[in-house]
Symmetry: C2
């Protein structure tokens, strides 16, 4: 069906049910960032392929609310659908709950799918709707009736991430978790975040593209642990291993029913920011006031990478460095030979090179392979029907990453394919200065991303230029490529950056219709000296892919910045050398050692 | 009485009243920063002269809670009193409400003076005490019985700050205020913040040292406005002028009684963060749920200086520049002549020079005149009995300011009195780099102090050094020298820096037992260009006092920093030149034009 027909079908459903509006969040029951096909309802209804947005349909209006990352893409994809784009994160933006509160009359009913909406979102809506006399009704899976070929649950096999990669046994994590919830007076916890479940049980799967987690709910109590999932996906040895640690399996669909059988002698711990509304309703109906609703303790614990995980991340970035050296060399040679290469060709070549590496599982997201003006869309995705051919001028942006058994990568390089304009070279330099400034930061314990973010922006702010996205995000260990609780942005999130956290540093600059630039390294926070002025922290760079220095405007750079670039590129060359063929090594030398601002005589 | 005797007397009172603890906040009924003698109860009880702290007395313990600014001073002043120092803003600090909740038994009673404690503080205590079965009793002015010679209310005359200084008429401000509260559904507002009252009515006084406000409460309703104050302090013409704008006077002591007579047909607006607990109790007893408790709208409005106020600030900084040129010249000559000058002598000389300026009202705080190691205490106050003599080596720190009719100043200079150690010169340079980095910041609208603060710190953080106070604070217009709502610090306060705000920029560096450095300029936020990347703001420096360049370690400075210093010092010289004698001008030339990194041929 076309988006127009979908909206019509939704309105007929509204008519027959007596609903005045439908909200489609387009998330899954687990607040996942990447969704199995089964839950891509926003995309099914509207044709919009972005990863963030909410659809609202009333009898007279159909709208999609999304943020600046997707303005250009959404405008294009919504054309002719009758669905209006509502812009978020712009001055005077009105989000959909406020819009509904303003546009519906008293007595109106808004329908949601309670499984696919987090509690916090529903509570926020209620706080706006109740004073206006608007009510909410939850109708799980209402989309089924108009989505005839809706995909079923994924069935990928589950595998164990051994202690040689995870660095911490399942039994140790379970013991820690039981202790954490006991400190809050709870005898059990219900976890619905898939990455938290995978982390706790040291299991991984490929249920969801780009996120190696298992679709499940996990309940852990003093006595037992039950994983509600598709049992068939677990091999007998893995079931046995889980059983040894006291973890039993139960069918995924039984969760709502199961809740009513759990003992209520002690309070249950839930994270209302992650739990979906339907489950939450069931939990509170059963436990009454014996519910502790707080941030999951796993969220922070998981972000503090242990020594084994950190060593794994280093191996992963080494692998990615090898892959990208091969890729950029291939690209340069192919373009010189006059080959016609599209953005998609390049992305697929990169993926094929990654697949050759030991322990490769999946891309951590589909590569953003963007040439010229396409790179001005920070979350551009090329598609076969309509993608650009790379030409021997201007800038090519490649933002990609992989899951290896060792760890997860995320890296962006923007490289010149030939001559650049002055603006391109200028912005290329400023963006790199931002990445360097944050990478070199030394800061006392307690400092948050909101305090540091400006360092990456100031080289652009200086010229009244800016980028409309955050500077950095946490990265999971063979889990989500975007994870909390820390981030690096202007928002005032009260989470200090702590030793062991791995956070991206990815300033950018986007000129609509012309070009886009982003440089992204991955930073590991480490503990430096403790003195009378504080407990000092710093960043180590994990990324092992060279920075192309040819576009840099040297007079803009300080000596410190030049030293950073030199030592980074020299270290990339040295690290990768043992793993490259002679031809690859000599090519990489031309990109690194031969381009140092201060040539080193020893090398 | 000695502090020991005071504690004993408090315990006897506790015994007879059945109280288990007494909390003395040492604030006044108006949450003022500087207190009339009448309300300096913390100082009276303990002998501690710092501006921040809370005293708690139980039957077995007496403690003073204060922050890092006062650790050294409090340790010294509490010696032998039996009062223990509890440090705040250090790792694992426990504030007094938590301490009381931990140390008192169920059924215990804590006595406070409800007039001298803001509602928010009492509510915080209650949230901790109630679960523990601890109750709070408010006994206004309980200190009276043991403070036999307690000073009475101040009686300074009140004067009008004419529109030529305030830039906005009283009637216009009252109309704006009535409109603001009507938008929140309120028909009246009760204001207890003295600077908000003074701003609204364009009145000033010298009731309180260093803060030219009038002790009063103000109620403004649709129909009328009543100022509860000491009526005798108002001249007949001023009463008449107020009367013309519908403002009548009533006795200060009648406020509690008066509340019970106010009509309750419309809700009343109060700011619970500023209102004292005793008044709040009376308001809620009378109005029930018809109370809107929110930040006063005056707080932000007052911070956005109008054109007339800004012009006044410029004149005030010009006056202060003249004064400080005269002062530093006098100091240099006097020391060269071998005169013996103490920290107090210097402070008094500065004040005497300021008093010669037109429109001088008062110092905006008593000068921090600190030589050598004394400057390592950021809020050091010299006193006659025990203060240092200035010697021809090391650093002298002078942090001072004044209220002129034109505006309020606050400025710190640290100057070398002779040879410096390498560390002194190094830190002097880094601190100045911090001040320059923030002064040069360009930032999009929406940026908060918490986002920018790091710019002033990074030149120190780079070397794992830091200062333990905020970088900046707002400044009132002939009002409090410290005012909100904006600030410049690591704390996540959600107030963007807006055009018209005037904020100090004062990084420092303190080496206990050795030296202290602080450089402080005053920055006016202004609107710069609007482009596709944002609505850009920047800072203009208002301060007109030269920066001594002789201690600067030139190799640490970038070209941009040198240019800033050169253009700042050249502009100071040019601005002050018309107002100086020939001798003064030629002396200032040696400190500015003769010291430029890049000598300008024109000058």
């Amino acid at each position: 069906m076309t988006p127009k027909e979908n909206i019509q079908a939704l309105r007929m459903m509204m008519q027959s049910q007596g609903w005045d509006a439908i909200v489609i969040s387009g998330t899954d029951p687990h607040s996942s960032e990447y969704l199995p096909a089964r839950w891509q309802s926003r995309r099914y209804i509207t044709g919009f392929t972005g990863s963030y947005g909410t659809v609202v349909v009333t009898h007279t209006h159909a709208g999609l609310w999304t943020d600046s990352r997707y303005f250009i893409q959404a405008t294009k994809q919504l054309e002719g659908t009758g669905i209006e784009l509502h812009k978020l994160r712009v001055p005077a933006a009105i989000d959909y709950p406020e819009w509904l509160a303003q546009n519906l009359s008293a007595g109106a009913t808004v329908c949601i799918d309670g499984l696919c909406m987090p509690l916090a979102t529903v509570e926020h809506m209620k706080s706006l709707f109740t004073p206006k006399g608007i009510s909410i009704v939850s109708s799980p899976d209402f989309i089924d009736t108009l989505w005839s070929d809706r995909p079923s649950l994924p069935d990928a096999k589950v595998f164990e991430l051994g202690i040689e990669y995870s660095g911490r046994s399942r039994s140790d994590k379970l013991a820690w978790l039981r202790n954490s919830i006991a400190e809050r007076g709870c005898g059990s916890i219900l976890i619905s975040s898939l990455d938290e479940i995978a982390w706790t049980l040291n299991i991984r799967s490929q249920d969801i593209a780009h996120t190696p987690v298992v679709i499940a709910y996990l309940r852990v109590s003093d006595q037992e642990a039950t994983l509600y999932t598709t049992e068939e996906k677990f091999t007998p040895p893995l079931r046995e291993a889980l059983g040894k640690d006291g973890v039993t399996l139960a069918p995924y669909a039984q969760i709502i029913e199961a809740i009513t059988t759990w003992p209520t002698d002690t309070p249950i711990y839930i994270d209302g920011n992650m739990l979906n509304y339907a489950i939450y309703e069931q939990v509170t109906a059963h436990y009454g006031t014996k519910v502790v609703n707080a941030t999951s303790p796993i969220k922070l614990e998981k972000a503090l990478k242990n020594e084994v995980e950190i060593a794994g991340f280093r191996r992963a970035y080494l692998k990615d460095g090898i892959v990208q050296t091969r890729f950029f060399r291939w690209l340069e040679c192919a373009l010189q030979d006059g080959e016609r290469i599209s953005e998609i060709d390049a992305a697929e070549k990169l993926i094929s090179l990654r697949k050759e590496m030991d322990g490769y599982i999946d891309e951590s997201f589909y590569p953003i392979s963007a040439y010229g003006k396409n790179a001005a869309l920070p979350h551009y995705t090329a598609n076969k029907e309509e993608c650009s051919m790379l030409e021997p001028h201007g800038l090519y942006l490649l933002d990609s990453g992989a899951h290896y058994l060792d760890g997860t990568t995320d890296i962006t390089r923007t490289i010149p394919l030939g001559p650049l304009t002055e603006d391109e070279a200028f912005d290329y330099t400023c963006v790199l200065q931002g990445m360097i400034a944050l990478s070199l930061a030394s800061f006392p314990s307690g400092t948050r991303g909101a305090n540091l973010d400006v360092l990456a922006r100031m080289p652009l702010w200086k010229y009244n230029r800016n980028y409309g996205h955050g500077t950095g995000h946490g990265v999971g260990h063979v889990l989500c490529v975007h994870e909390g609780p820390q981030d690096m942005r202007q928002n005032l999130a009260d989470q200090p950056i702590l030793p062991g956290m791995i956070t991206s540093c990815e300033p950018g600059m986007y000129c609509e219709g012309l070009y886009g630039i982003r440089h992204e390294n991955m930073l590991l926070c480490y503990q430096d000296e403790v003195n009378e002025y504080g407990d000092w922290l710093g960043f180590m760079t994990l990324t092992n892919t060279y920075i192309d220095t040819t576009p840099l405007v040297e007079e803009l750079l300080t000596d410190e910045e030049k030293m950073f670039i030199d030592s980074f590129n020299a270290s990339v060359y040295e690290s990768l050398l043992p793993h490259l063929t002679e031809e690859e090594a000599s090519w990489l030398k031309t990109k690194t050692i031969d381009c140092l601002f201060e040539p080193e005589e020893e090398l």
